[in-house]
């Protein structure tokens, strides 16, 4: 085990630490302001309406929740798949995972019509609802990831480390399956109703979570001037490529399957060709910038070992992920419900029309507030506890498993 030789140390109290606290704190404060405004005024100040019922806050929330389970993968690869190279990053992996999940959950809860009834959601369960299962899965994830972290940081619990790692890994797969199924189980929405949503969301989580993790790892090491070798970064680089490819493949299969089903031609034509912003986000945001460009940056021979190209790839994967979730969530709702197959419908309630949606500044503030919470938690976490290894230089890592 290589990580017996790894030394972990808290981040020092530099000016940069306080600068980050102020920066992320300001973003969180903006989110809080948006929440209080929504709570006081109601959702009429948002772009959400009775046609597009889930909006930008949900894109942020689901991105963070999906990325959370993916961020835990780095730890899982070390623990469950026994790859020593990944083990020194296990602590940070669990911290980032918990921080992302909490950020996402805060956005999700604060966007509710009645966030004050959170206790109701915790005490009244309809077990046929995948949403109710998700509430249990989120709480369980936090508990298991926390316990997993404990076994990594407390020598007395070292015997439980593999079991905790396995449990957390299994739980995170089920959790993302559950998040995907929130959409997959919506029988009447033509863009959702499919079992492939569960594995698609798992692949997305691998990709988004790893991209976020790499950026956090790099920033943490660069800003505290700790050595970060090429071995670990290149391993993460090619792992990211595999995950981007997996998500792209499942998305391709989803659309191909839809294109084979006549009654889904309408929604596919909308997303792939006629959908305006959704079509652009799909082809330019999700496919080109979010997948093809990062893959090129990773595999381009002239960029091997180039850190900037890896960081740009990660940023693009994250932006592409937002685009993908925007297309799935908002695009899927914008396409009208099919009330009478084979007929056109019109009404005062916008039946048969492509629904309009333009997020307001309050929704941006609330969504970004969740990102702020996640980043703030990571920043404080690495300051107060020993999450970051002192060095991940090539010579201190045991990479003989490659």
């Amino acid at each position: 085990m290589s990580n017996t030789a790894i030394v972990y140390r808290e981040v020092g109290e530099g000016r940069g630490f306080y600068l980050l606290l102020v920066l992320f704190g300001a973003v969180v404060a903006m989110g809080a302001l948006a929440f209080f405004h929504l709570e006081h005024e109601g959702h009429h100040v948002t772009g959400m309406n009775n046609q597009i019922v889930w909006g930008l806050p949900h894109v942020f929330a689901i991105f963070l929740i999906v990325a959370a389970s993916g961020a835990l993968n780095v730890g899982s690869i070390g623990t469950v798949f026994r790859k020593p190279l990944y083990q020194p990053m296990g602590r940070l992996s669990a911290l980032v995972a918990m921080a992302l999940l909490l950020g996402g959950l805060v956005v999700l809860v604060l966007d509710l019509g009645h966030p004050d009834r959170l206790i109701v959601a915790m005490t009244h369960y309809n077990f046929k609802s995948i949403f109710a299962w998700n509430i249990i899965l989120y709480n369980g994830f936090l508990a298991l990831a926390g316990f997993y972290l404990w076994t990594m940081m407390d020598r007395q619990l070292k015997a439980l480390y593999p079991y905790a790692g396995f449990a957390a890994f299994s739980w995170r797969l089920i959790l993302t399956m559950g998040t995907g199924s929130i959409f997959g189980f919506l029988v009447v929405r033509q863009f959702y109703d499919s079992a492939i949503m569960a594995p698609l969301f798992i692949a997305m989580s691998f990709s988004f979570g790893l991209a976020v993790f790499i950026l956090v790892l790099y920033a943490g090491f660069a800003w505290t001037r700790r050595p970060l070798g090429d071995v670990v970064l290149n391993r993460l680089r090619y792992l990211l490529a595999v995950f981007i490819g997996a998500a792209l493949f499942l998305e391709l299969m989803r659309h191909l399957a839809n294109l084979y089903v006549t009654r889904r031609h309408g929604v596919e034509q909308f997303i792939l060709s006629d959908g305006g912003i959704y079509t652009q986000l799909f082809w330019v945001g999700q496919v080109f910038l979010g997948a093809l460009v990062p893959l090129s940056l990773i595999f381009c021979r002239r960029l091997v070992g180039n850190r900037l190209s890896l960081l740009v790839a990660c940023v693009l994967v994250i932006l592409g992920g937002f685009a993908q979730l925007y297309v799935i969530l908002i695009g899927g709702q914008a396409y009208p419900l099919e009330l009478f197959p084979g007929a056109t419908v019109e009404s005062t309630f916008f039946d048969g029309q492509i629904s309009r949606y333009a997020p307001t500044v309050w929704e941006w503030m609330l969504g970004l507030g969740g990102v702020g919470i996640s980043l703030l938690l990571v920043t404080v976490g690495v300051r107060v506890l020993r999450f970051l290894p002192v060095s991940l230089a090539d010579e201190v890592l045991d990479s003989d498993d490659s």
Binding site: G42, H124, N126, L339, V345, E346, T348, S355
Partner: protein, 260 residues
């Protein structure tokens, strides 16, 4: 449920319905067109009330299943009067700060045109009060609920406003309240941050009255107990059928239509 005295004339009525129905299915096209009107009119002439008041101490029971049959050919206005009656009864549709897309609509008239034949009709669409409601399946807290007598509604005390039911409803029958409201109807409280929809005027049914929309279009709408074979609605749907919107979803809706 009916007693013996009431059953006698209704047996005869059933026979009359059967005759009309047989004529409709075996006879000329004109008969087929006229039959629903004849039957609805005859059904309207029945003397037994469609709804009887339920004592407050008695819980709703699954012995009853409330339903509605709407003959779109006899509506005339496509259901506009029904929509207006619902608005008056429940006070929705003029929330001052909501945009047009944010305005709740418990019921609306929908114009349907076949893409090939261009055949067209208009019908009122509201919560269809499914036997297997997707909105109830997905609700995390159980706020979206089906009462024992088949009425699907929202328990506004435990609705957290997640809007998942709105995502799941095939009929777009649910609305979210986007702003603080004042001056509400005492019998139909609405709350910011919760989801709402047609509840078949549950406050009226429990006191022995039919829903406001059914009252506004007596020539075209029969409301009653689908579980009671002698009720007007049961006899009408037995004779004439009653089409479901999106019957392919197999939700067994309580709201049925003729001539769609």
């Amino acid at each position: 449920m009916s007693d013996g005295l009431q059953q006698v004339p209704q047996r005869n009525q059933v026979d009359a319905y059967r005759r009309h129905f047989m004529a409709a299915v075996t006879g000329a096209a004109t008969l087929a067109t006229l039959a629903p009107g004849v039957i609805l009119r005859e059904a309207s002439a029945a003397t037994r009330p469609d709804v009887t008041a339920r004592p407050p101490e008695q819980p709703a029971t699954s012995v009853v299943r409330w339903g509605m049959l709407i003959d779109t050919a006899r509506l005339g206005d496509g259901g506009a009067a029904m929509v207006a009656a619902c608005r008056r009864e429940h006070g929705w549709g003029h929330d001052p700060r909501a945009s047009p897309e944010q305005q709740p609509q418990w019921v609306r008239t929908v114009r349907v045109t076949d893409k090939l034949t261009q055949h067209s009709f208009t019908l009122p669409v509201m919560c269809q009060h499914c036997e297997h409601p997707p909105c109830v399946d997905v609700c995390p807290t159980g706020a979206s609920m089906k009462r024992a007598d088949g009425i699907v509604q929202v328990n506004k005390h435990i609705c957290i406003g997640c809007r998942y039911c709105m995502m799941a409803c095939p009929y777009k029958a649910r609305s979210f309240v986007h702003e603080p409201l004042t001056d509400q109807r005492p019998h139909s409280p609405r709350g910011m941050g919760t989801v709402e929809s047609c509840n078949l005027c549950v406050h009226r049914i429990d006191t022995g009255r039919i829903p406001a929309c059914a009252e506004a279009a007596p020539q075209a709408v029969i409301f009653g107990d689908l579980n009671d074979p002698d009720s007007r609605i049961s006899q009408a749907v037995q004779a004439l059928g009653g089409t479901q919107i999106r019957a392919d979803l197999d939700l067994n809706t309580g709201v049925r239509y003729l001539n769609i």
